[in-house]
């Protein structure tokens, strides 16, 4: 019933010349998304992926279990010295992420261009 979460990894370079790893998600982010969210992130070598950008542009539905997966990703990234940013959230989910405090540990941007300009 829950739409499968798809994920894809892109490697790009910011205008400032920093390598950025973009995790692009598609579908629902819910309890069934562990492999797509955490599995995809955990498969990245920690030493060479210091800037992580999460793309939620094609995500329509995120529930509290999905938010918990994002927090688990932030915990692992923090412990590995990585910085995490996100873009493409709807205004509603920007509000929800702000309410639960995620913005303290992950900068949110409207789109990829704004995120890349800041990195």
């Amino acid at each position: 019933m829950q739409s499968e979460t798809k994920s894809r990894v892109d490697q790009i370079t910011s205008p400032a010349g920093h390598p950025v790893t973009v995790l692009r998600f598609e579908g629902d982010i819910a309890s069934t998304s562990k492999e797509a969210v955490l599995g995809t992130y955990q498969a990245l070598p920690k030493a060479t992926n210091k800037l992580i950008l999460l793309d939620f542009t094609k995500v329509d539905y995120i529930n509290s279990s999905g938010i918990a997966l994002v927090i688990q990703l932030l915990i692992e990234a923090s412990n590995s010295g990585q910085k995490v940013y996100a873009f493409g959230l709807s205004p509603h989910f920007v509000k929800v992420f702000t309410m639960v405090g995620i913005t303290k540990y992950a900068g949110l941007f409207p789109g990829q261009a704004e995120a890349m300009a800041a990195l």
């Binding site: 019933m1 829950q2 819910a30 309890s31 069934t32 539905y61 529930n63 509290s64 279990s65 938010i67 918990a68 997966l69 927090i71 688990q72 932030l74 915990i75 923090s78 709807s90 205004p91 509603h92 929800v96 309410m99 639960v100 405090g101 995620i102 303290k104 540990y105």
Partner: protein
């Protein structure tokens, strides 16, 4: 004395994760018909989804022989949603998640559903069934006719 009209819509869900989206879509449709702003419809969708997830996971413990009842009552200026399960009811009160504690492993990354419900609607109450069953959460979202 003016007569107050209420229109009811009922949905019955299997206790299977994912079906909360059926209640979410139904609630959104009713709220749109009532004239709620898009941002309030989004608030309601998340609150209803989280209430159904709690009912499926904690109330009915994912027992697919049990169903979750969702009753939407559309009044003139508010929408009430009751989500009913066969559990004993929520014993603890919603608490604001502490992101610092979560980040430091002192608090479960999960457990934000009740907080989100309470934060996103105008009223939320959790009522334990008197017979240890038929517990429900009751949500109310009000039409704000003055807001743009």
């Amino acid at each position: 004395m003016s007569e107050r009209r209420t229109t009811n819509v009922e949905v019955r869900l299997p206790s299977r994760m994912g079906f909360e989206k059926v209640a979410m879509s139904t609630a959104a449709s009713v709220a749109k018909l009532m004239g709620f702003r898009d941002d309030r419809v989004e608030d309601l969708k998340t609150a209803v989804a989280e209430a159904c997830i709690n009912a499926i996971e904690h109330g009915n413990r994912l027992n697919e022989k049990l169903s979750v009842g969702v009753i939407l009552s559309a009044g003139e200026d508010s929408l009430e949603v009751k989500v009913i399960d066969d559990g004993k009811g929520m014993m603890n009160h919603p608490s604001k998640p502490d992101i610092d504690r979560k980040m430091h492993g002192q608090e479960d990354p999960r457990g934000m559903g009740m907080f989100l419900i309470q934060a996103l609607v105008d009223e939320a109450e959790w009522v334990a069934g008197t017979n240890g069953k038929s517990s429900y959460v009751r949500l109310v979202i009000r039409l704000d006719k003055d807001a743009g």
